[in-house]
């Protein structure tokens, strides 16, 4: 189990992160801060998708759908009462008269996303591999179409805008910590071992008495809950949310982060999320000064293909850096670098 010093390392890292945010908020401009916010949201998304995809080996593309459910729920709950009735004619009165503060709204958003994933997961998770990928891709499109056409509740294609700017770095950081903690706890718990067992050998896991469907659905729900929360954070950082906010491209981006970081490695997802979301921004000055747009995407896809060719298990494989893994010593496991 964890040694005392490892616990201290965790707490120390968390505090260092907090200090970093304090400094960033002091010295950096809005643009960098909003980028930092999205980096954090991507960390939540990548790590939570890793819980679903990486640990259990499910290939789900459904994250954007869960983000949309969570984001819309959260946005409707925090929407100022005085404008709500006018914008959203289809809301029942009690909902039109409710205005929640951010944290409970996020929680409810996450729970709705988890609920959605339960409804979707029970039938769909019987599918395997590619078929699951296709079915979850379908879920994204179905959710998108439904939101677009349920104008009374969602305001249709226009979406909800003018949302209060509630998301700041502290909120994002709080949820990043919760996500990392949850991911860590899960990975090194008996539930986590069940998930990894399913990924590695389904038949054997079944023989050991692991309930396959239940474990899968639970993994999907945990991931969906965090995706829903991320959707809420997203909506209140952009201050607008529309049916097209969360697309297949987003699913792709998150999957890339998980694969590049290493399926099953929390550290890997974390680093990949940070690197990728910053790289996209790094190409901007080049595009703007040369007046050619789209180079960033091309180069990133190229990098991705190269990584897939030369290091298909991702940067970290399934493992975590040795000095953070419970029950291991520094010398026992090397960090998989590049």
């Amino acid at each position: 189990m964890y040694t005392l010093s490892q616990r201290l390392v965790f707490i120390g890292l968390a505090l260092a992160g907090g200090l970093l945010i304090l400094l960033m908020r002091q010295f950096l401009n809005d643009y960098i801060l909003s980028i930092a916010g999205f980096v954090g949201i991507y960390v939540i998304l990548a790590v939570s998708l890793n819980i679903t995809n990486g640990f259990t080996g499910l290939f789900s593309l459904g994250h954007p759908a869960f983000m949309a459910i969570g984001g819309y729920t959260c946005a409707i709950l925090t929407f100022p009462v005085q404008r709500k009735g006018y914008f959203l004619s289809g809301l029942p009165d009690w909902l039109a008269g409710t205005e929640l503060s951010f944290f409970p709204a996020l929680l409810i958003g996450g729970l709705f996303a988890a609920l959605g994933s339960l409804l979707i997961g029970l039938p769909v998770l019987r599918l395997r591999g590619h078929y699951l990928a296709v079915a979850t891709l379908g879920v994204i499109i179905i959710v998108q179409v439904l939101i677009t056409n349920m104008g009374g509740i969602t305001r249709g294609p226009l979406g909800l805008n003018g949302l209060p700017t509630l998301t700041n770095l502290w909120w994002v950081y709080l949820w990043v910590l919760i996500t990392l903690y949850l991911g860590w706890k899960l990975k090194f718990s008996s539930f986590g071992r069940s998930m990894l067992a399913i990924r590695e050998d389904e038949m054997a896991a079944d023989c050991l008495g692991i309930n396959l469907l239940r474990t899968r659905v639970q993994a999907l729900m945990v991931g969906a809950f965090l995706a829903g929360v991320a959707g809420g954070l997203w909506a209140h950082l952009v201050t607008a949310i529309t049916p097209k906010s969360f697309s297949l491209i987003l699913a792709f981006t998150i999957v890339v982060m998980v694969v590049v970081g290493g399926s099953g490695s929390i550290t890997g997802s974390l680093l990949a999320a940070v690197i990728f979301s910053m790289l996209t921004e790094a190409f901007r000055p080049l595009e703007e000064s040369l007046n050619v747009y789209g180079i960033g995407e091309i180069v990133l896809s190229l990098i991705l293909i190269l990584i897939l060719i030369y290091r298909p298990i991702g940067l970290f494989g399934t493992s975590e850096p040795g000095w953070l893994s419970p029950g291991k010593r520094k010398s026992l496991s090397g960090t998989a670098g590049d």
Partner: protein, 298 residues
């Protein structure tokens, strides 16, 4: 609702289904051989349509030459993709190839925008293809007929190829078990390359037809048909050529019938219906209509 109306909608479904089927065949072939879901297939369709535009309109070649050149060009693109991206990845988990193909797709689309701009361009086929054929209450165009015939001819041709020729035997052996096929002296590299050449050629042909049917092309056009034919292939059972055709028709029909026979407001739910149907089919027939029972567990 008159009989003519119902008949016309059925024909509309058939025509659209043929278009999807045409794209889905190439898709399913590649999957059948190396279990790769090639998302970039739709973008090869796009490349094919721009090749047609270049040969037909800019260079003014006669139509049969254009068709030939597009098929050869598509085959070259297919081979290039296989050599540069998928061959180095062979043996990696399935997911790897799938993600690589998505990356490739994004790369091709952005290069398309960079080189060609995102403006849709008009596209005119020789007049003969635009002729309207009216049979009683039903009307369609020559190009629709050509698309349907092409899809059928290609399907029969490919099934014969796979069943009767040496290359086909190699393909089936490779699909069955790559390693064993190699041990049996089959040149795996050549077989897989040939598969990609055929797949690319089919996609480019579909691109030519696509341009002829809709009269307008742009660098992002491959995405939606790619997605739909992916669905079609899955519904039919990925890997099965006859399944891809059936899947294409099911999706095409379903789309048109949803729009045509439900109250108009549901027209906007078209894609939700298609994917809902997909999920339903998968739940009851997890391997699609014609798919073999899948051995790969997760």
């Amino acid at each position: 609702m008159s009989g003519g109306y119902i008949l016309q909608q059925l024909v509309n479904g058939l025509i659209l289904g043929s278009m999807y089927a045409l794209i889905a065949i190439g898709f399913t072939m590649i999957y059948g051989i190396i279990r790769l879901i090639n998302f970039a297939h739709g973008d090869v369709v796009m490349i094919g349509s721009f090749m047609t535009l270049a040969f037909l309109q800019a260079l003014g070649w006669p139509f049969y030459l254009v068709a030939l050149a597009v098929m050869v060009g598509g085959a070259l693109v297919g081979v290039a993709i296989e050599r540069s991206v998928f061959r180095p990845m062979r043996g990696a988990p399935q997911v790897t190839g799938f993600i690589a193909s998505l990356a490739l797709s994004i790369m091709i689309q952005n290069m398309g925008i960079l080189l060609l701009t995102a403006q849709p361009r008009n596209f005119s086929f020789p007049d003969i293809f635009q002729q309207v054929i009216t049979l009683g209450a039903v009307s369609f165009r020559m190009v629709d007929l050509v698309i349907m015939l092409t899809a059928w001819i290609l399907m029969i041709g490919l099934i014969l190829l796979v069943k009767m020729t040496r290359l086909g035997v190699g393909m089936r052996a490779t699909a069955e078990n790559l390693e064993v096929a190699r041990l049996m002296g089959i040149n795996i590299n050549r077989t897989i390359m040939a598969t990609f050449a055929i797949g690319g050629s089919l996609a480019a042909t579909a691109g030519l037809m696509y341009g002829g049917k809709f009269g307008q092309i742009d660098p992002l056009l491959g995405f939606v048909p790619g997605l739909k034919s992916f669905v079609a292939a899955v519904v039919g059972g990925v890997g099965s050529i006859a399944g891809a055709i059936c899947g294409g028709y099911i999706i095409g029909m379903a789309e048109v019938l949803f729009v045509g026979f439900l109250p108009p407001i549901y027209s906007a739910y078209r894609d939700a219906f298609v994917f809902g149907l997909l999920i339903l089919i998968l739940l009851f027939m997890p391997n699609g209509l014609f798919g073999k029972k899948s051995e790969d567990r997760a």
